[in-house]
């Protein structure tokens, strides 16, 4: 037991780092669900592609031999490219795979199946173009192993702090955007009632596209952070990460931005603690059981759905 207690602070730090990233990726699910009431199944793949873009930026910098790589400018550069690419990809997906469906007023099954198709397509496109083998993030070049600090008995690497800060800042930025700006108001209006928003002069198509851009960009950023953290990425990483982020979104109450952050943190902590106390082989089972239990007993999540009540059961 003493052994477990000794590694507990460490596990909590891991859990926090993982949890903020889950939250970041969960925002993509939650925002899209907020405006379209659909699960963007391909969001996990957008996250994965974000990780690949970050890897390429780093690889090209290394190849160009620009000299000493300092995380203070390299990490923002990676994030920027990954977010831009992922965001545009999300917009493209919305334009070609989802918009024709929601314009036609298709039922829930159609968009979800289209999203599953997109997910399989993107996964295999990456596998065929980037190879099936995993790629290694040169994290140690950016964050030397000696950059650590001690907090409450846990040895925390600078990377983990960067992850938490970056993810936290992005969530805060999104929160401000949605609550304080004109764009945010139109996003909320579309989530509340799409038809009414149209009548009030909101350009609904544009708002939905922007929502996809924002959510996907955050997912791409999450991909870079996870790549830096785990140092290994492959074309399949989006599947389980996507499911977990979705779990986080549902846990907090889908459509609810603060809920996604809370859900991410809880899931990250529960997962890293579960590894401490039980057979790691069942780590993923924990996430799925949480998902199922929440959906079955409290489908509106912990903080409740922030979207207007649905007319459909």
């Amino acid at each position: 037991m003493a052994g477990v207690l000794a590694i507990l602070p460490q596990q909590i730090v891991f859990g926090l780092a993982l949890g903020t990233v889950y939250g970041l990726v969960a925002l993509g699910y939650t925002m899209v669900y907020g405006v379209l009431f659909m699960i963007n199944f391909a969001h996990g793949e957008i996250f994965m592609i974000g990780a690949y873009v970050g890897w390429w930026v780093l690889a090209l910098l290394l190849k160009a031999q620009v000299g000493a790589l300092h995380p203070a400018w390299v990490v923002p550069l990676m994030l920027l490219h990954a977010m831009l690419f992922a965001g545009l990809l999300g917009v493209g997906l919305e334009r070609f795979a989802y918009r024709p469906l929601y314009l036609r007023g298709a039922t829930r099954l159609g968009p979800l199946i289209s999203a599953i198709g997109a997910s399989i397509f993107l996964q295999n496109a990456v596998m065929l173009s980037q190879g099936a083998r995993m790629k290694v993030y040169m994290t140690s070049l950016l964050f030397p192993r000696t950059w650590r600090i001690q907090i409450a008995g846990a040895s925390v690497s600078l990377l983990v702090i960067v992850m938490i800060v970056v993810a936290g800042l992005m969530m805060w930025g999104l929160h401000l955007l949605v609550q304080r700006t004109k764009l945010g108001r139109s996003i909320r209006a579309v989530a509340e009632d799409r038809e009414m928003a149209t009548i009030m002069g909101v350009n609904v198509r544009r708002v939905i596209a922007v929502t996809f851009f924002l959510g996907s960009a955050l997912g791409g950023a999450g991909g870079v952070l996870v790549g830096l953290y785990y140092t290994q990425i492959d074309f399949f990483m989006g599947y389980s990460a996507g499911l977990k982020a979705f779990t986080a979104a549902v846990l907090g109450g889908i459509g609810n931005i603060r809920g996604a952050m809370l859900g991410g943190l809880i899931l990250g902590l529960v997962e890293s603690l579960a590894v401490t106390f039980m057979n790691p082989a069942y780590k993923d089972v924990v996430a799925f059981v949480i998902l199922i239990v929440v959906l079955v007993f409290r489908p509106m999540g912990l903080l409740g759905e922030n979207v207007a009540e649905r007319e459909k059961v």
Binding site: G105, I116, G117, I292
Partner: protein
């Protein structure tokens, strides 16, 4: 009338082709492919009951396939030393798999469309994780190395060994499930399912017990997977967790969607296409899933009702509320 006239005639022609098919097959390998078509068509018909008839999007159907396969492996292999005869083991497996359908279906009854999809997906993943991990502390599933040494089907002392024999067995099962599906759809339960699919609230208002009807859909759909699972186990003579990955769920779902949800002939056609096309384009195997994903997207955008539509019918639309 289950289908429009030409579809019914086409079904007879296809049936006749299927019976004489092995005579025209170039080699044993292709007879194996044909057997696999029958196997998957049976599975797709099972999923069609849940997705096509009742409109419940189940993304974890492969769980039932896995449960069926492993149950058969438990009952008729050297793994536990049980060697039940085929004709006894299969009914037991079918009943137990149907029961597992009720177990997994029950918690999901209250869920809306896409939540239901994710929860069933979660159950599929949990089933896979259990199959791969339940070799410790007590060896139940054999873990990643699966179960080998499964008995082949034997009827009255005559054991099946050649692909042709399996093919006719699977074809008979397919014919049976087709018949059952056709009957079910025109039965009281079938109408209840279709009413739920179109509008659950209205169905309940009309006095349909939606809870019972949904559980029946899950149980019957799962029982088809029990048949398919026992057949797979007895044909492969082995089962592995890798047979029951999420992609397999999607594969079977795509068969249902490609042909046209709820349309029996369409589902069989979907299974035929999705099993045989990768065989025809073997060299392009790498691109199989790429094309597959693209196909799902394109289909949903341009032809959400699937390849075969039910134009002769006014009481059914593939895309309810569209």
């Amino acid at each position: 009338m289950a289908t429009a006239g030409w579809q019914r005639r086409m079904a007879w022609v296809l049936g006749a082709v299927a019976v004489v098919g092995p005579l025209a097959a170039p080699n044993d390998y292709w007879i194996g492919v044909m057997a696999r078509i029958c196997l998957y068509a049976t599975l797709a018909l099972g999923l069609n009951i849940v997705v096509g008839f009742a409109g419940l999007l189940d993304l974890g159907y492969v769980a039932f396939f896995g449960i069926g396969s492993y149950l058969y492996a438990f009952l008729a292999s050297t793994h536990f030393g049980l060697h039940l005869p085929f004709l006894l083991a299969v009914p037991i497996v079918v009943v137990l798999t149907a029961f597992s359908g009720i177990l997994i279906g029950a918690p999901t009854l209250r869920l809306r469309g896409d939540y239901l999809a994710i929860v069933t997906l979660g159950f599929g993943e949990i089933t896979y994780l259990l199959l791969i991990n339940l070799d410790r502390p007590v060896n139940i599933t054999g873990g990643p190395s699966g179960i080998i040494g499964i008995d082949p089907p034997a009827v009255a002392g005559f054991a099946l060994s050649r692909n042709t024999q399996y093919y006719y067995l699977f074809l008979a099962a397919l014919a049976l499930t087709l018949l059952a599906s056709g009957r079910l759809r025109r039965s009281r339960i079938g109408w209840a399912w279709q009413a739920i699919r179109e509008d659950e609230l209205a169905a309940r208002a009309m006095g349909i017990n939606t809870t019972v009807a949904k559980l029946q859909a899950f149980a019957i759909g799962a029982s088809f997977a029990g048949i398919g699972g026992s057949f797979l186990a007895s044909w492969q003579r082995s089962v592995f967790p890798e047979n029951f990955l999420f992609t397999e769920s999607i594969n079977i779902l795509a068969m249902v969607i490609l042909g046209g949800m709820g349309n029996l002939l369409g589902v069989v056609m979907g299974a035929t296409l999705l099993v045989s096309l990768p065989e025809v384009f073997r060299d392009l195997q790498r691109y199989r899933l790429l094309v597959f994903g693209l196909m799902l997207m394109v289909l949903m955008v341009f032809r959400p009702e699937g390849l075969l539509t039910l134009q002769g019918r006014h009481d059914e639309e593939a895309e309810p509320g569209a």
